[in-house]
Amino acid sequence: MKKLSILLIMVLILVPVMLLAIDPNRDYRGVTIRIAVMQSGRKGAISGPLYDAAELWNKETGGKVEIVEIPFEDMYEKIMTDLIAGTGYYDGAIIASWWLGDLVAGDYVVPIDEYYEKGTHPVWKKEWVPPALAILHEWKGKWYGPPNDSDGQILYYRYDLFTDPEIRKKFKEKYGYDIPVPPRTWDQVLDLAEFFTGWDWNNDGEPDYGFVMHLKVHGQAFFHFMSLSAPFVINPYNPKLYWFDPIDMKPLIKSPGHKKALELLLKLHSYGPPAEVSWDLGEAWDFFLRGKAAMTFTWGDLGSLAQDESRSKVKGKLGCAIIPGTYESYDIVHGKWVKFDKPNIVGNTTGASWYGVIFKHSKHPEAVYDYYALMARRDFSLWNISNGWTGVDPGLKIHFLRPLGEAKMRDFLKYGWDPGDVDEYLAAYYENFFSELLFPYLRIPGTPEYWDSLDIHLSEVVSGQKTIDEALDAIYKDWEKITKRLGRKEQLKLYRESINWTEEDDKEYLKYHKK
């Protein structure tokens, strides 16, 4: 009896200990890794979930994570300064995808394929990642970070207004066709924006607007232009060329397609509050969430913020759709406009799509990978995208509702989502990320500088400082200067690699372009 009691006590003590024991392949006790991330606070976008992951990682591995938050506008400089100086303060960072070119060119980051193949780290699958997003993690066939956030812009509109019988009647009387739900072309959006501008459709005593955008310079306004302009330039005849000529690296920004897109941006701005020229993301989103604008287009954050009734009047009223297309698109390869019977729709991954990279100088690269892999693991990833405050947006196959993915409606409902909004939101994002045509992301060295030039001159157009032609000329000149400084041959090589431009593509292109 006594022996039995002792045995029972030992079992009662040992079993829990064994269950809590750390996997020897993931034993990082005594290891502390330092990770840089955009500053948003413990419960803020992108940075917040790192803290939750750190607690979980500590339980699973014994390792510790020191999270260093850096303001978004300073993050690139601080990290690059650390890497260039060789200080080695950070083991890794949650980067914006467009930095990868600079990081790879400078040989500052470590590919993760070796750790992924090992199979001893938290499991995530490359097959979950749609090609549109996978390309952001890769360079010349090597992956540099597990998936985390999936950025892309979609159109948000007021489903309740678009389906209101009275409003629909008035619209049809004015424009001769029914309000499309959802809008599929930019021409339809322009008509709708005009229709909803200048009268009080939300009964708050003030006239309202058809459209709102975040157009503040150095406030990510240039992403608006990228998403909006995609269907004017990218099409089945030209699926790859948006930024530069693939033969001589001359900017393509002055193409008729780009110009038409900029004309559209200006028209949309005329249906928005003039103050939006100085509005950051928060202000523009707030304007839509307060019910002052009928439409906007932006990232997935807006869909989740719409569920927060302390600041949103549009919960349960959301309509979401892939960015509208056009019936006419400029084919850069063949040098002509092409028309389509149905709208030319182009998906996008505009934005940062923040994910973790491992710095070469890190003394614990595998530990860093393990931490990132935990965040990419199915359970954590699903938790991340269903909680709006995390700022992590859906994009992996597992994020979409069954049968498309593995997420369940209740995963969203328990965090306060409206079921109608969930359906709209996820359907739009699925269509976006799995679209046949995709906006080509720029990831070559110097991308921040190319985009800054675009940003500044776009802002000059919307604030009336430059005409469209003057702005496009200025962007062209700036980009040429940047390319010359960074080395045209090297830039061209990296650009061609980044868009998978082949010699076959050259043959077709050179039939129509004398070089």
Binding site: T81, V217, P274, V277, S278, I456, R485, G487, E490
Partner: protein, 286 residues
């Protein structure tokens, strides 16, 4: 006790080393970078005077210099005028004046970035306090941050709010150093306050005026935090002041060569300009 030259040198050595390391070495390096094309991760290449030539043909440099001069042109005269006016009003042996002197000084001690953040709210175009007041008075709201011209005015207004107390404090010190018997003698000659100010006060505080002007010019040429927070240099680059452009060129684009050239040229322009101002003012005072 006689101290040897070697001992004197050794005593000075730590301070000398510090100055060399913190000031002289970076300055020499900046000049060196001016003649290089620095490319992130790809090393540097000697390019001679190309960075300096680019400076004089770069539209963005011209636009940032104009933005800086416009903001300085609005802010500095206003600060000097208001600072002097407040100092004259407060320089009276009346009860409560010490309180006002303290209150008027407060903005100078506020953190510029915090002030700039607050200003974004104050100048908020849709329902912000200033535009709400304008609407209440029957006036049209102003596009404080979305119009290029008004954005420069907004930045200047914040600068005026913050730096007027600095001018006020220096002018007040100057006024209080003027002997009272001069005023007593002046009041015997005239009853006009303006005459007393113009004939007695103003000439005697002109050296103070020179100090304020030079200090404000030197500081204003480095303006950065207020436009960086309020407008991020926008709309377009209407408020992208020259220091902001240098910062972005060097630390955002990592075009360290060109940024070094910009900083170096600013230094070359600033020093002779200030020396000329000092010389001219000295000639006027003499």
């Amino acid at each position: 006790m006689r101290v040897s030259k070697l001992t004197k040198f050794l005593i000075l050595l730590p301070a000398l080393a510090l100055v060399l390391f913190i000031a002289i070495y970076p300055l020499i390096n900046t000049v060196r970078y001016t003649f290089l094309n620095y490319r992130l991760g790809r090393g540097s290449v000697f390019i001679g005077f190309e960075n300096i030539m680019s400076f004089f043909t770069d539209d963005r440099v011209l636009e940032s210099v104009i933005a800086t001069l416009v903001i300085m042109g609005i802010a500095i005269p206003s600060e000097i005028f208001l600072g002097l006016l407040l100092a004259v009003l407060v320089d009276k042996p009346i009860r409560g004046m010490k309180f006002f002197r303290t209150i008027f000084s407060f903005p100078f001690f506020a953190t510029p970035a915090a002030v700039a953040f607050l200003s974004v709210t104050i100048f908020y175009e849709q329902g912000g306090p200033v535009n709400s007041l304008l609407s209440f008075l029957g006036l049209d709201p102003i596009r404080w941050l979305s119009s290029p011209d008004w954005a420069r005015v907004s930045v200047a207004l914040v600068d005026i709010w913050q730096w007027t107390p600095f001018c006020f404090l220096i002018f007040l010190a100057g006024l209080q150093s003027i002997p009272q018997d001069l005023y007593e003698a002046a009041w015997l000659e005239t009853k006009s306050k303006w005459q007393v100010f113009w004939k007695i006060t103003f000439p005697l505080i002109t050296p103070v005026f020179a100090v304020v002007l030079i200090l404000r010019l030197m500081e204003a040429m480095k303006i950065f935090d207020v436009p960086a927070v309020m407008t991020k240099g926008g709309p377009g680059n209407a408020t992208e002041v020259f220091p902001m452009l240098i910062y972005r060129t060097g630390l955002k684009y990592f075009n360290l060569g060109y940024a070094s050239a910009m900083g170096f040229i600013l230094l070359i322009v600033e020093i002779p300009l200030l020396m000329w101002i000092i010389k001219r003012l000295r000639a006027i005072f003499d």
